[in-house]
């Protein structure tokens, strides 16, 4: 009996047995990155094309550990030692030395940097300049509060071109439908459009008309409600001077500031204001040629699209023809905002183009 009891106890003891592992042979934190950032001489020297170092360029490395910001030295070099192994997105950007309006950019995606090895690369930058209308800021998370106040959301547009653009008939849409598991902003059926439009609002007029000019190098603030929200929530912002206001004409209680022109709802089964998710969503701006949202919005009509997400391990769902990256959003009710690093500069990589700022800046205040 005692022996059986002892065997039973010994069997019970197996629950404690730990699975001993052997230590890894490679160590983390010993990777090295050597980058050389250059530009070609086109535009500055017509006799011969050669590469010129870009000193003091911003180098942005993003990985699961977050974002690292560094600068190249006077010779265009950057060496990083003892960085942890991970998959990195690397971008370089600097202003052109002879024309501050031109941004030099370069980037490499999904680089696996492995401990014990040195990653060496040359980033040859390309000039990016006036590209037209782009989303410049998205303030979605709401001000600091604990009563779920988020009605001070706005989207800011920037005309980075040197010419006047016109907003007539343009569309702003929220695309948050799950698209049968492919996620918001995906092209279901691969038919050249993105599906899952949730809200769709339109500027007055029709594409091609010229009644609502958008001056070069200026901003347009599109407010959910163009009011002074600080009267309701002291931590909020004053949007009474916004340029445009989203108004759902089918709603009985959507506030309408008579001094601010409106974008109107064109999805007739929606009766609420233009609201976007606080931390995870897709927002697009189109030229308005395709307003039939039911079968998706043609990608060729999209001027700009941004996907923002709260999870650091998120995978992009927005079609990569619209944008190849996503933005890490600000926490809910933190009073922070998402803004392009360089106003209006859209390299079609939201991960590298955007960052979180501590306070919203409507109209680039």
């Amino acid at each position: 009996m005692k022996i059986k009891f002892l065997i039973l106890i010994l069997l019970g003891f197996t629950v404690f047995v730990s699975c001993e592992k052997t230590p890894p042979t490679q160590v983390d934190g010993e990777a090295e990155v050597n980058l050389f950032v250059a530009r070609d001489s086109i535009g500055t020297d017509t006799t011969q094309i050669y590469t010129i170092p870009v000193p003091n360029a911003d180098i942005i490395l993003t990985s699961e550990y977050g974002t690292m910001n560094r600068k190249t030295d006077e010779f265009g070099n950057l060496t990083l030692r003892n960085i942890p192994s991970s998959i990195y997105q690397i971008a370089a950007r600097a202003h052109h030395p002879y024309d501050n309006s031109i941004l030099l950019i370069a980037g490499i995606k999904d680089v696996e940097i492995i401990s014990g090895k040195t990653f060496i690369d040359t980033l040859v930058t390309k000039p990016i300049s006036s590209t037209g209308i782009a989303i410049n800021e998205i303030y979605s998370c709401g001000p600091v509060n604990n009563i779920f106040f988020f009605y001070d959301q706005y989207i800011e547009l920037y005309n980075s071109s040197d010419s006047v653009k016109y907003l007539d008939g343009m569309i702003v849409a929220r695309v948050s439908g799950q698209n049968g598991g492919m996620g918001p902003g995906a092209d279901v059926g691969n038919d050249g459009d993105i599906d899952g439009v949730t809200y769709i609002f339109k500027f007055p007029g029709h594409p091609g008309e010229k009644n609502y000019p958008f001056e070069p190098h200026t901003f347009k603030v599109l407010a959910q409600d163009a009011v002074d929200h600080t009267q309701t929530m002291p931590t909020s912002i004053d949007l009474s001077h916004a340029d445009w206001e989203f108004v759902n004409q089918l709603s009985f209680n959507d506030f309408d500031n008579p001094d601010v022109p409106n974008l109107y709802n064109i999805r007739l089964d929606r009766t609420v204001d233009f609201m976007i998710s606080l931390t995870s969503d897709v927002v697009i701006v189109t030229d308005g040629r395709d307003s039939v949202w039911e079968d998706g919005i043609d990608i060729s009509t999209i001027l700009d699209g941004v996907e923002y997400q709260s999870s650091g391990t998120h995978r992009l769902t927005l079609d990569d023809r619209v944008d190849r990256g996503w933005v890490q959003s600000a926490p809910k009710y933190s009073g922070k905002s998402m803004e392009r690093r360089d106003k209006g500069v859209d390299t079609n990589d939201g991960t590298l183009d955007w960052h979180v700022i501590n306070h919203p800046t409507p109209g680039y205040q």
Partner: protein, 484 residues
């Protein structure tokens, strides 16, 4: 983080909670241990080596003991994730019952209530357990842990001079960080042990035992208003992964075994020698949920420990007792980034301790004891992911003095003093650390059936050339019933 030997600390914490009440006499005498004759400072396989098989021979006096206790520490000398002040309250119950041929039964219960004030960001129960991982939020707040611990042990003679014993221990704690993220913790720990001991002729006893531990700590941080909670999964001290959501979960599981052997030589009342050796291995897994059912291992930490201690006590004259203590410890640990199978930290602590002392009965009412210990520690830490490397060899010294004075046959007063000089403090990371510890206590026999014991201690530890300090205030009061 510098080099830690917290595994030892945690193991000691578990056992000290259960044995502390019994050791109130020596604890009140400055913590004298190997140079004083005391039932609870024997060198036998149970008391020195934790082998339950020898419980039947080690503890022959039935007793019921109830002990309320408090331990507090506070001050500016602390690590980043150590709370500014920690108050620990407990009530401990012990029931020891010799049952004749059926052996000896020991039952223990403890209710623990711990408050950590100004707990900076940390969400783990043991932030410094020698692992290369932390789990934090963005808040500083008070954290409360509370819950019971139960232990049952049984020992009996199974064949002539062969003894067997075993026990189980179960502890569960609920924790709550009472600010914003409302980090909730459920900590569960199960332990079991089995042992055999054989008594040879001539006063020699040998024993062997195995001790298993399995624990799980489940942490969930969520905001009651469903706002975003930001938590950080740290690999080392420099690099972390930010996690966001209305609720964030994290889990730590630990499992390990300790294999022990004991030799006890007690030929007569004059001489007592005990040797206990432990070899322990354990592993900790750091998991976060991926989906609702699957936990993904983000990190793993491995530990192995060798601990050998020897004690000797000799009655030199009728009044003078001499004691000797030797010890050797070797702790090895490594932590890996499981996803990439990369080593992020490894450390090794080796220590050798030599102590000697004696106690002297000045007269039949007055006992004085002194102990001196010197510890040589060699530590090697390579924190690869943080690019921090450290190798240190230090000598730490401890001096203890204890007094006991019987005012009458039934009332004894006790006091003691400790001085610690640490070239490096492995607990809080300071250099040139000194500690002064003062202890007081009493023992009073109300009658043949009931005994009262009480002790209080105050310690002040100064680090980094007295720029920072941490104070410790402990007390306990026990009432013992010898028949019940």
């Amino acid at each position: 983080m510098k080099i830690d030997s917290k595994i030892l600390l945690i193991v000691l914490l578990f056992f000290s909670l259960s044995l502390f009440a019994q050791k109130s006499r020596t604890a009140a005498m400055g913590g004298l241990s190997f140079s004083i004759r005391d039932l609870d400072e024997s060198f036998d396989p149970y008391t020195l080596g934790g082998n339950t098989a020898w419980l039947a021979e080690s503890q022959k006096n039935a007793r019921l003991e109830i002990t309320p206790l408090q331990n507090s520490s506070y001050g500016t000398y602390r690590r980043k994730y150590t709370a500014e002040r920690i108050n620990n309250y407990g009530v401990h119950f012990l029931d020891l019952k010799p049952l004749g041929v059926s052996g000896t039964f020991l039952g223990e219960a403890l209710y623990d209530y711990q408050i950590r004030f100004k707990n900076y960001r940390n969400l783990k129960f043991n932030p410094y357990a020698g692992e290369g991982f932390f789990f934090t939020d963005t808040t500083t707040g008070n954290t409360t842990y509370k819950g019971p611990m139960f232990r049952l042990s049984h020992s009996l003679r199974i064949y002539k001079n062969l003894y067997a014993g075993g026990g189980v221990r179960y502890q569960i704690l609920n924790g709550l960080k009472d600010v914003y993220t409302f980090g909730e913790t459920v900590y569960r720990n199960v332990e079991g042990d089995l042992g055999l001991a054989y008594q040879f002729s001539g006063g020699i006893t040998i024993g062997a035992s195995v001790h298993g531990t399995n624990s799980q700590e489940r942490i969930e941080a969520s905001d009651v208003n469903l706002l975003t909670v930001r938590t950080f999964e740290w690999r080392g001290e420099t690099h972390s992964i930010e996690l966001r959501g209305s609720s964030q979960k994290y889990k730590i599981t630990k499992a390990g075994e300790v294999f022990s052997g004991q030799i006890y030589y007690h030929p007569d009342e004059k001489l007592e020698i005990g040797v206990a050796a432990d070899y322990g291995i354990s592993g900790s897994r750091f998991l976060y949920p991926e989906g609702s059912l699957v936990d993904v291992e983000d990190g793993y930490a491995s530990f192995d420990v060798t601990d050998i201690k020897a004690r000797a006590r000799y009655q030199v004259t009728e009044k003078l007792l001499a004691g000797l203590s030797l010890g050797y410890t070797d702790y090895n640990s490594w932590s890996e980034n499981s996803k990439r199978n990369l080593l992020i930290w490894e450390w090794r602590n080796r220590g050798a301790v030599l102590g000697f002392g004696g106690s002297y009965n000045v007269n039949k009412n007055f006992l004085i004891g002194v102990e001196i210990e010197t510890e040589l520690v060699s530590s090697d830490s390579s924190k690869y992911i943080d690019n921090r490397f450290r190798n240190i060899d230090v000598t730490n010294n401890t001096a203890r003095i204890g007094l006991e004075y019987y005012i009458s046959n039934d009332l004894a007063l006790r006091s003691g003093y400790n001085f610690l000089s640490l070239a490096h403090d492995f607990l809080y990371g300071g250099d040139k650390v000194t500690e002064h510890l003062f202890t007081f206590g009493f023992g009073y026999n109300i009658n043949n059936n009931i005994q009262l014991n009480g002790m209080a201690s105050f310690a002040n530890r100064n680090g980094d050339e007295d720029k920072v300090y941490r104070s410790y205030l402990n007390w306990l009061f026990s009432i013992r019933f010898f028949t019940f």
